[in-house]
């Protein structure tokens, strides 16, 4: 697949998200999430893979579904692994 768009920019999104973790945590299938936010199930897959950056409206709909603030679901920088965050919390290390 051509991995660049018509302007020569790399395809895909610079936006990172926690959708796979949130879905797994709450036992929500891609199809269910897609239905709830009004997109096709494939689009959720593209979002999770980082191949597609959602519009603001879709991002807000996803956040509303998970009842989380935007920064908990989407980020411009990669999220730290959940295990690292949990370990840091337990040991009192803020990093």
């Amino acid at each position: 697949v051509d991995d660049k768009d018509s302007r020569g920019n790399k395809r895909g999104s610079g936006l990172h998200n926690r959708l796979p973790v949130l879905r797994a945590e709450r036992g929500v299938s891609r199809r269910d999430l897609a239905q709830a936010v009004g997109v096709n199930a494939q689009t959720i897959g593209f979002l999770e893979r980082g191949d597609y950056g959602p519009s603001l409206e879709l991002a807000l709909r996803i956040c509303a579904y998970f009842q989380l603030p935007v920064e908990a679901v989407f980020s411009l920088t990669p999220f730290a692994p959940m295990s690292a965050q949990l370990y840091a919390t337990r040991t009192g290390d803020p990093g």
Binding site: S6, S29, Q42, G45, F46, D51, Y52, L58
Partner: protein, 190 residues
């Protein structure tokens, strides 16, 4: 007093028509959704095969160009029939492969699909303009050749065949671009 029943009747008829129209639209949308959700055969899941399918517009284009250069004969008629058949078959296969992305109304697509379709249309526009440009160069070359040697490259009404083929190919280009660029969705749609 005499106006009221008439107004009521008109409103009821209009309501009934609207209701009927929305029912028909809903049925059509459901049919299209079912068609789009049908799984593709395994051989179409490979990128190479999808890209091979994306080259289908070259078949009617080649047939049309060859038909244009032939004198009016059975061969030309056969080639023209091949143009028509390969165009119809080609557009059906391309739309099947691309899940009707370039043919269904916006209300059946999500924002990613609309974006994909629009990008494909942009590329297709460039390709069609290029194709028409080539045709223009061919027409000029044909005119020059006809004046210099006395025998044109595309004799008689051959240009009709070439133009019709180009028009049919132009209708296939957006779906072909979509098929070429198609990216697989993750398989595990749990």
């Amino acid at each position: 007093v005499s106006i009221e029943p008439s107004t009521t009747t008109t409103t009821t008829t209009a309501d009934r028509r609207t209701e009927q129209l929305s029912r028909l639209t809903a049925e059509k949308d459901a049919r299209l959704r079912r068609h789009r959700d049908r799984p593709l055969p395994p051989w179409l899941t490979s990128r190479g095969n999808r890209r091979a399918v994306a080259m289908l517009p070259l078949v009617p284009l080649a047939c049309g160009l060859v038909a244009g250069t032939r004198p009016d004969s059975v061969l030309r008629s056969t080639l023209l029939a091949a143009v028509a058949l390969s165009s119809v078959a080609g557009i059906l296969v391309l739309r099947w492969v691309t899940r009707l992305l370039d043919a269904v109304p916006d209300r059946l697509l999500d924002e990613r699909e609309i974006g994909e379709r629009d990008r494909a249309y942009r590329r297709a526009h460039g390709l069609v303009v290029g194709l028409i440009g080539l045709l223009m160069v061919l027409a000029v070359a044909d005119g020059v050749l006809s004046k210099v040697t006395g025998s044109p490259l595309i004799p008689g009404d051959g240009w009709i065949a070439v133009t019709i083929s180009t028009m049919l190919v132009a209708t296939m280009v957006p779906a072909a671009v979509l098929a070429w660029r198609w990216t697989d969705a993750p398989a595990d749609l749990d």
